[in-house]
Symmetry: C2
Subunit: 336 residues, 2 copies
């Protein structure tokens, strides 16, 4: 038996399709009687409006896109959950898009999604120089960025990445460390550049002479830190503490340290950034700068939906605002 449509409801209730539409969407008055008849018919036929027809008519789909580099990076499921929870609550469906940091894939997604009358985008990816994102906003498409550099021309929610590593480095220094390495992600990602800057500045601040060898530069992925750590520890620049650009990097670094026979934190302290739940399960439990990932996701979704609905009403986007969320240094057992 095929799905009932608005005509079926109308004829069962003995009214016209227009009236059914009006009662269901409630922007206009309908008499108590007909209203009741229609509701009964809706119930009887288990009628649910066809989304494609609505979308076609309205030019919007009550769907939003969340674009992330990889769902396999454990920070994104948390952000995703935040986005989804508020989206669902507000009657929106979320489409998840993995780009693997590939700009072309990202562009493809955008154009495909536009085709689907998507209502707006949240970009949690980190590539830069994405003119096409600015163009999107200029074309009037609601867009929110999560932890992505922007020049205040687009809504965004971020943490202060500089401050995060600045704090962590200060802590390390305050506990007596004078040789501190940093595990750096891809140079092309501004989040990591900011984090490096915070680290460097804190060092300078304390008059610690920086050695370029202290920076471990990721090459093919987080696993690259396994051998990077081994080499660094075997070199004359062996540090007494390592600040990792993310928790995942810290995990690999700890693995490498263990395998080389170093004790954490006695021989070397390790500290991460993100504070994903797994960090507390590591041995030793990882100290980390916490990022409110779930809240970042939910705030991003709220902002996006506000934009969407404001645009719906006024045809205009609201002026962009950038929200900076606070981080917190969580000290566990991996630091001395």
């Amino acid at each position: 038996m095929a799905r009932a449509n608005i005509k079926d409801v109308a004829s069962l209730a003995g009214v016209s399709p227009g009236t059914v539409s009006r009662t269901l969407n409630g922007n206009s008055y309908v008499s108590k009687d007909t209203r009741a008849k229609i509701l009964a018919a809706v119930k009887e036929l288990n009628y649910q409006p066809n989304a494609a027809a609505k979308t076609l008519k309205a030019g919007r789909s009550h769907t939003l896109a969340l674009v992330i580099p990889s769902i396999q990076n454990p920070i994104f499921p948390i952000v995703t959950q935040g986005v989804e929870d508020v989206a669902n609550m507000q009657g929106y469906t979320t489409i998840l898009c993995n780009t693997n940091e590939d700009t072309n894939r990202e562009k493809q997604y955008i154009s495909n999604l536009l085709t689907r009358s998507i209502d707006g985008f949240i970009f949690a990816t980190i590539t830069e120089k994405a003119d096409y994102i600015y163009e999107l906003r200029e074309k009037g498409v609601p867009v929110v960025l999560v932890n992505r550099r922007n020049d205040d021309e687009i809504d965004a929610v971020q943490i202060d990445n500089f401050q995060a590593t600045f704090d962590a480095t200060n802590y390390l220094v305050s506990t007596g460390h004078k040789t501190i390495a940093f595990a750096m992600g891809h140079e092309s990602i501004n989040v990591y550049r900011d984090r490096r800057e915070g680290y460097l500045t804190a060092l300078k601040h304390h008059g610690i002479r920086f050695h370029p060898e202290w920076i471990m530069q990721e090459t093919y992925g987080p696993e690259s830190f396994y051998s990077l750590t081994k080499s660094l520890m075997a070199s004359e620049y062996r540090p007494t503490a390592i600040l990792a650009g993310s928790d995942i990097k810290a995990f690999t670094i700890m693995r490498s340290l263990h395998d080389s026979g170093y004790k954490i934190p006695e021989d070397v302290s390790v500290i991460g950034i993100d504070n994903i739940p797994l960090s507390a399960l590591m041995e030793p439990p990882l100290s980390s700068v916490s990022q409110p990932l779930y809240q970042m996701g939910s705030l991003a979704a709220k902002k996006l939906i506000s934009q969407i609905e404001h645009k719906e009403e006024t045809g205009q986007l609201l002026p962009p605002v950038v929200d900076i969320m606070t981080t917190e240094l969580i000290i566990r057992k991996s630091t001395l």
Copy 2:
């Protein structure tokens, strides 16, 4: 500037919309000349067909739904990636649905998605007695199950959960263990019941007298194993090995063991199931029964798309087939 539609293309190319549709969908012959003109116009206007209109007309959306309990459980991002990769490759978009094991939420998703002319569903959730899923299939909606009990009436891809724990337990016995505990997930989830059965059967097989105290029963989530482990280890039933129903459970168990001062594997061996990438980073690296999660996702997507396209052509679904993927026992350092 609004998005170009098929009429714009038609008038720019000096032909009718029907002809444009035909060239673009290629089910009918079009002369070289007009074809070229149309393609040029498409390019010039950067025309992309409106998905909602197509969906409305065709009754299908080239979209599939992946229903999972929680994206925060690290096994699902991997399955998801598998699904997405093949879906994208074949021109389908994936909608991710988190149910938190909540049957009502699952039903809501289904009815909402049906409204959107979804082409098919992959259920990677584990609740049972889901008559509504069988009904879906009976109504002719393509459905594939991942690691979910079914009576061969629905396509599925699974591992042999019994065999997984049977093998792991045998291994433990073969290395000299005689007291082996099992960390059990929710009773309501057949995957865990099967795993428990494998464990129990292996024990019996070796003539080991089972103590009910050996079963640690999860209550409020994986974290419940923290205190469960503490109590068990403090009791007279302290085991020399613990088989965890999943890697995540194993992580919490290891944490608890460390905190109580036990050495792994010297004092107690631990073994997980899933073999997620993080397992290799644990200290000590976790031995685990590997599950081909990515492949399970990609196979599920392939099966679903076959069903969708077969239905498209013939109006019928293919007879269901259940695929059992193989597992492998990966021995690392958490077992002795």
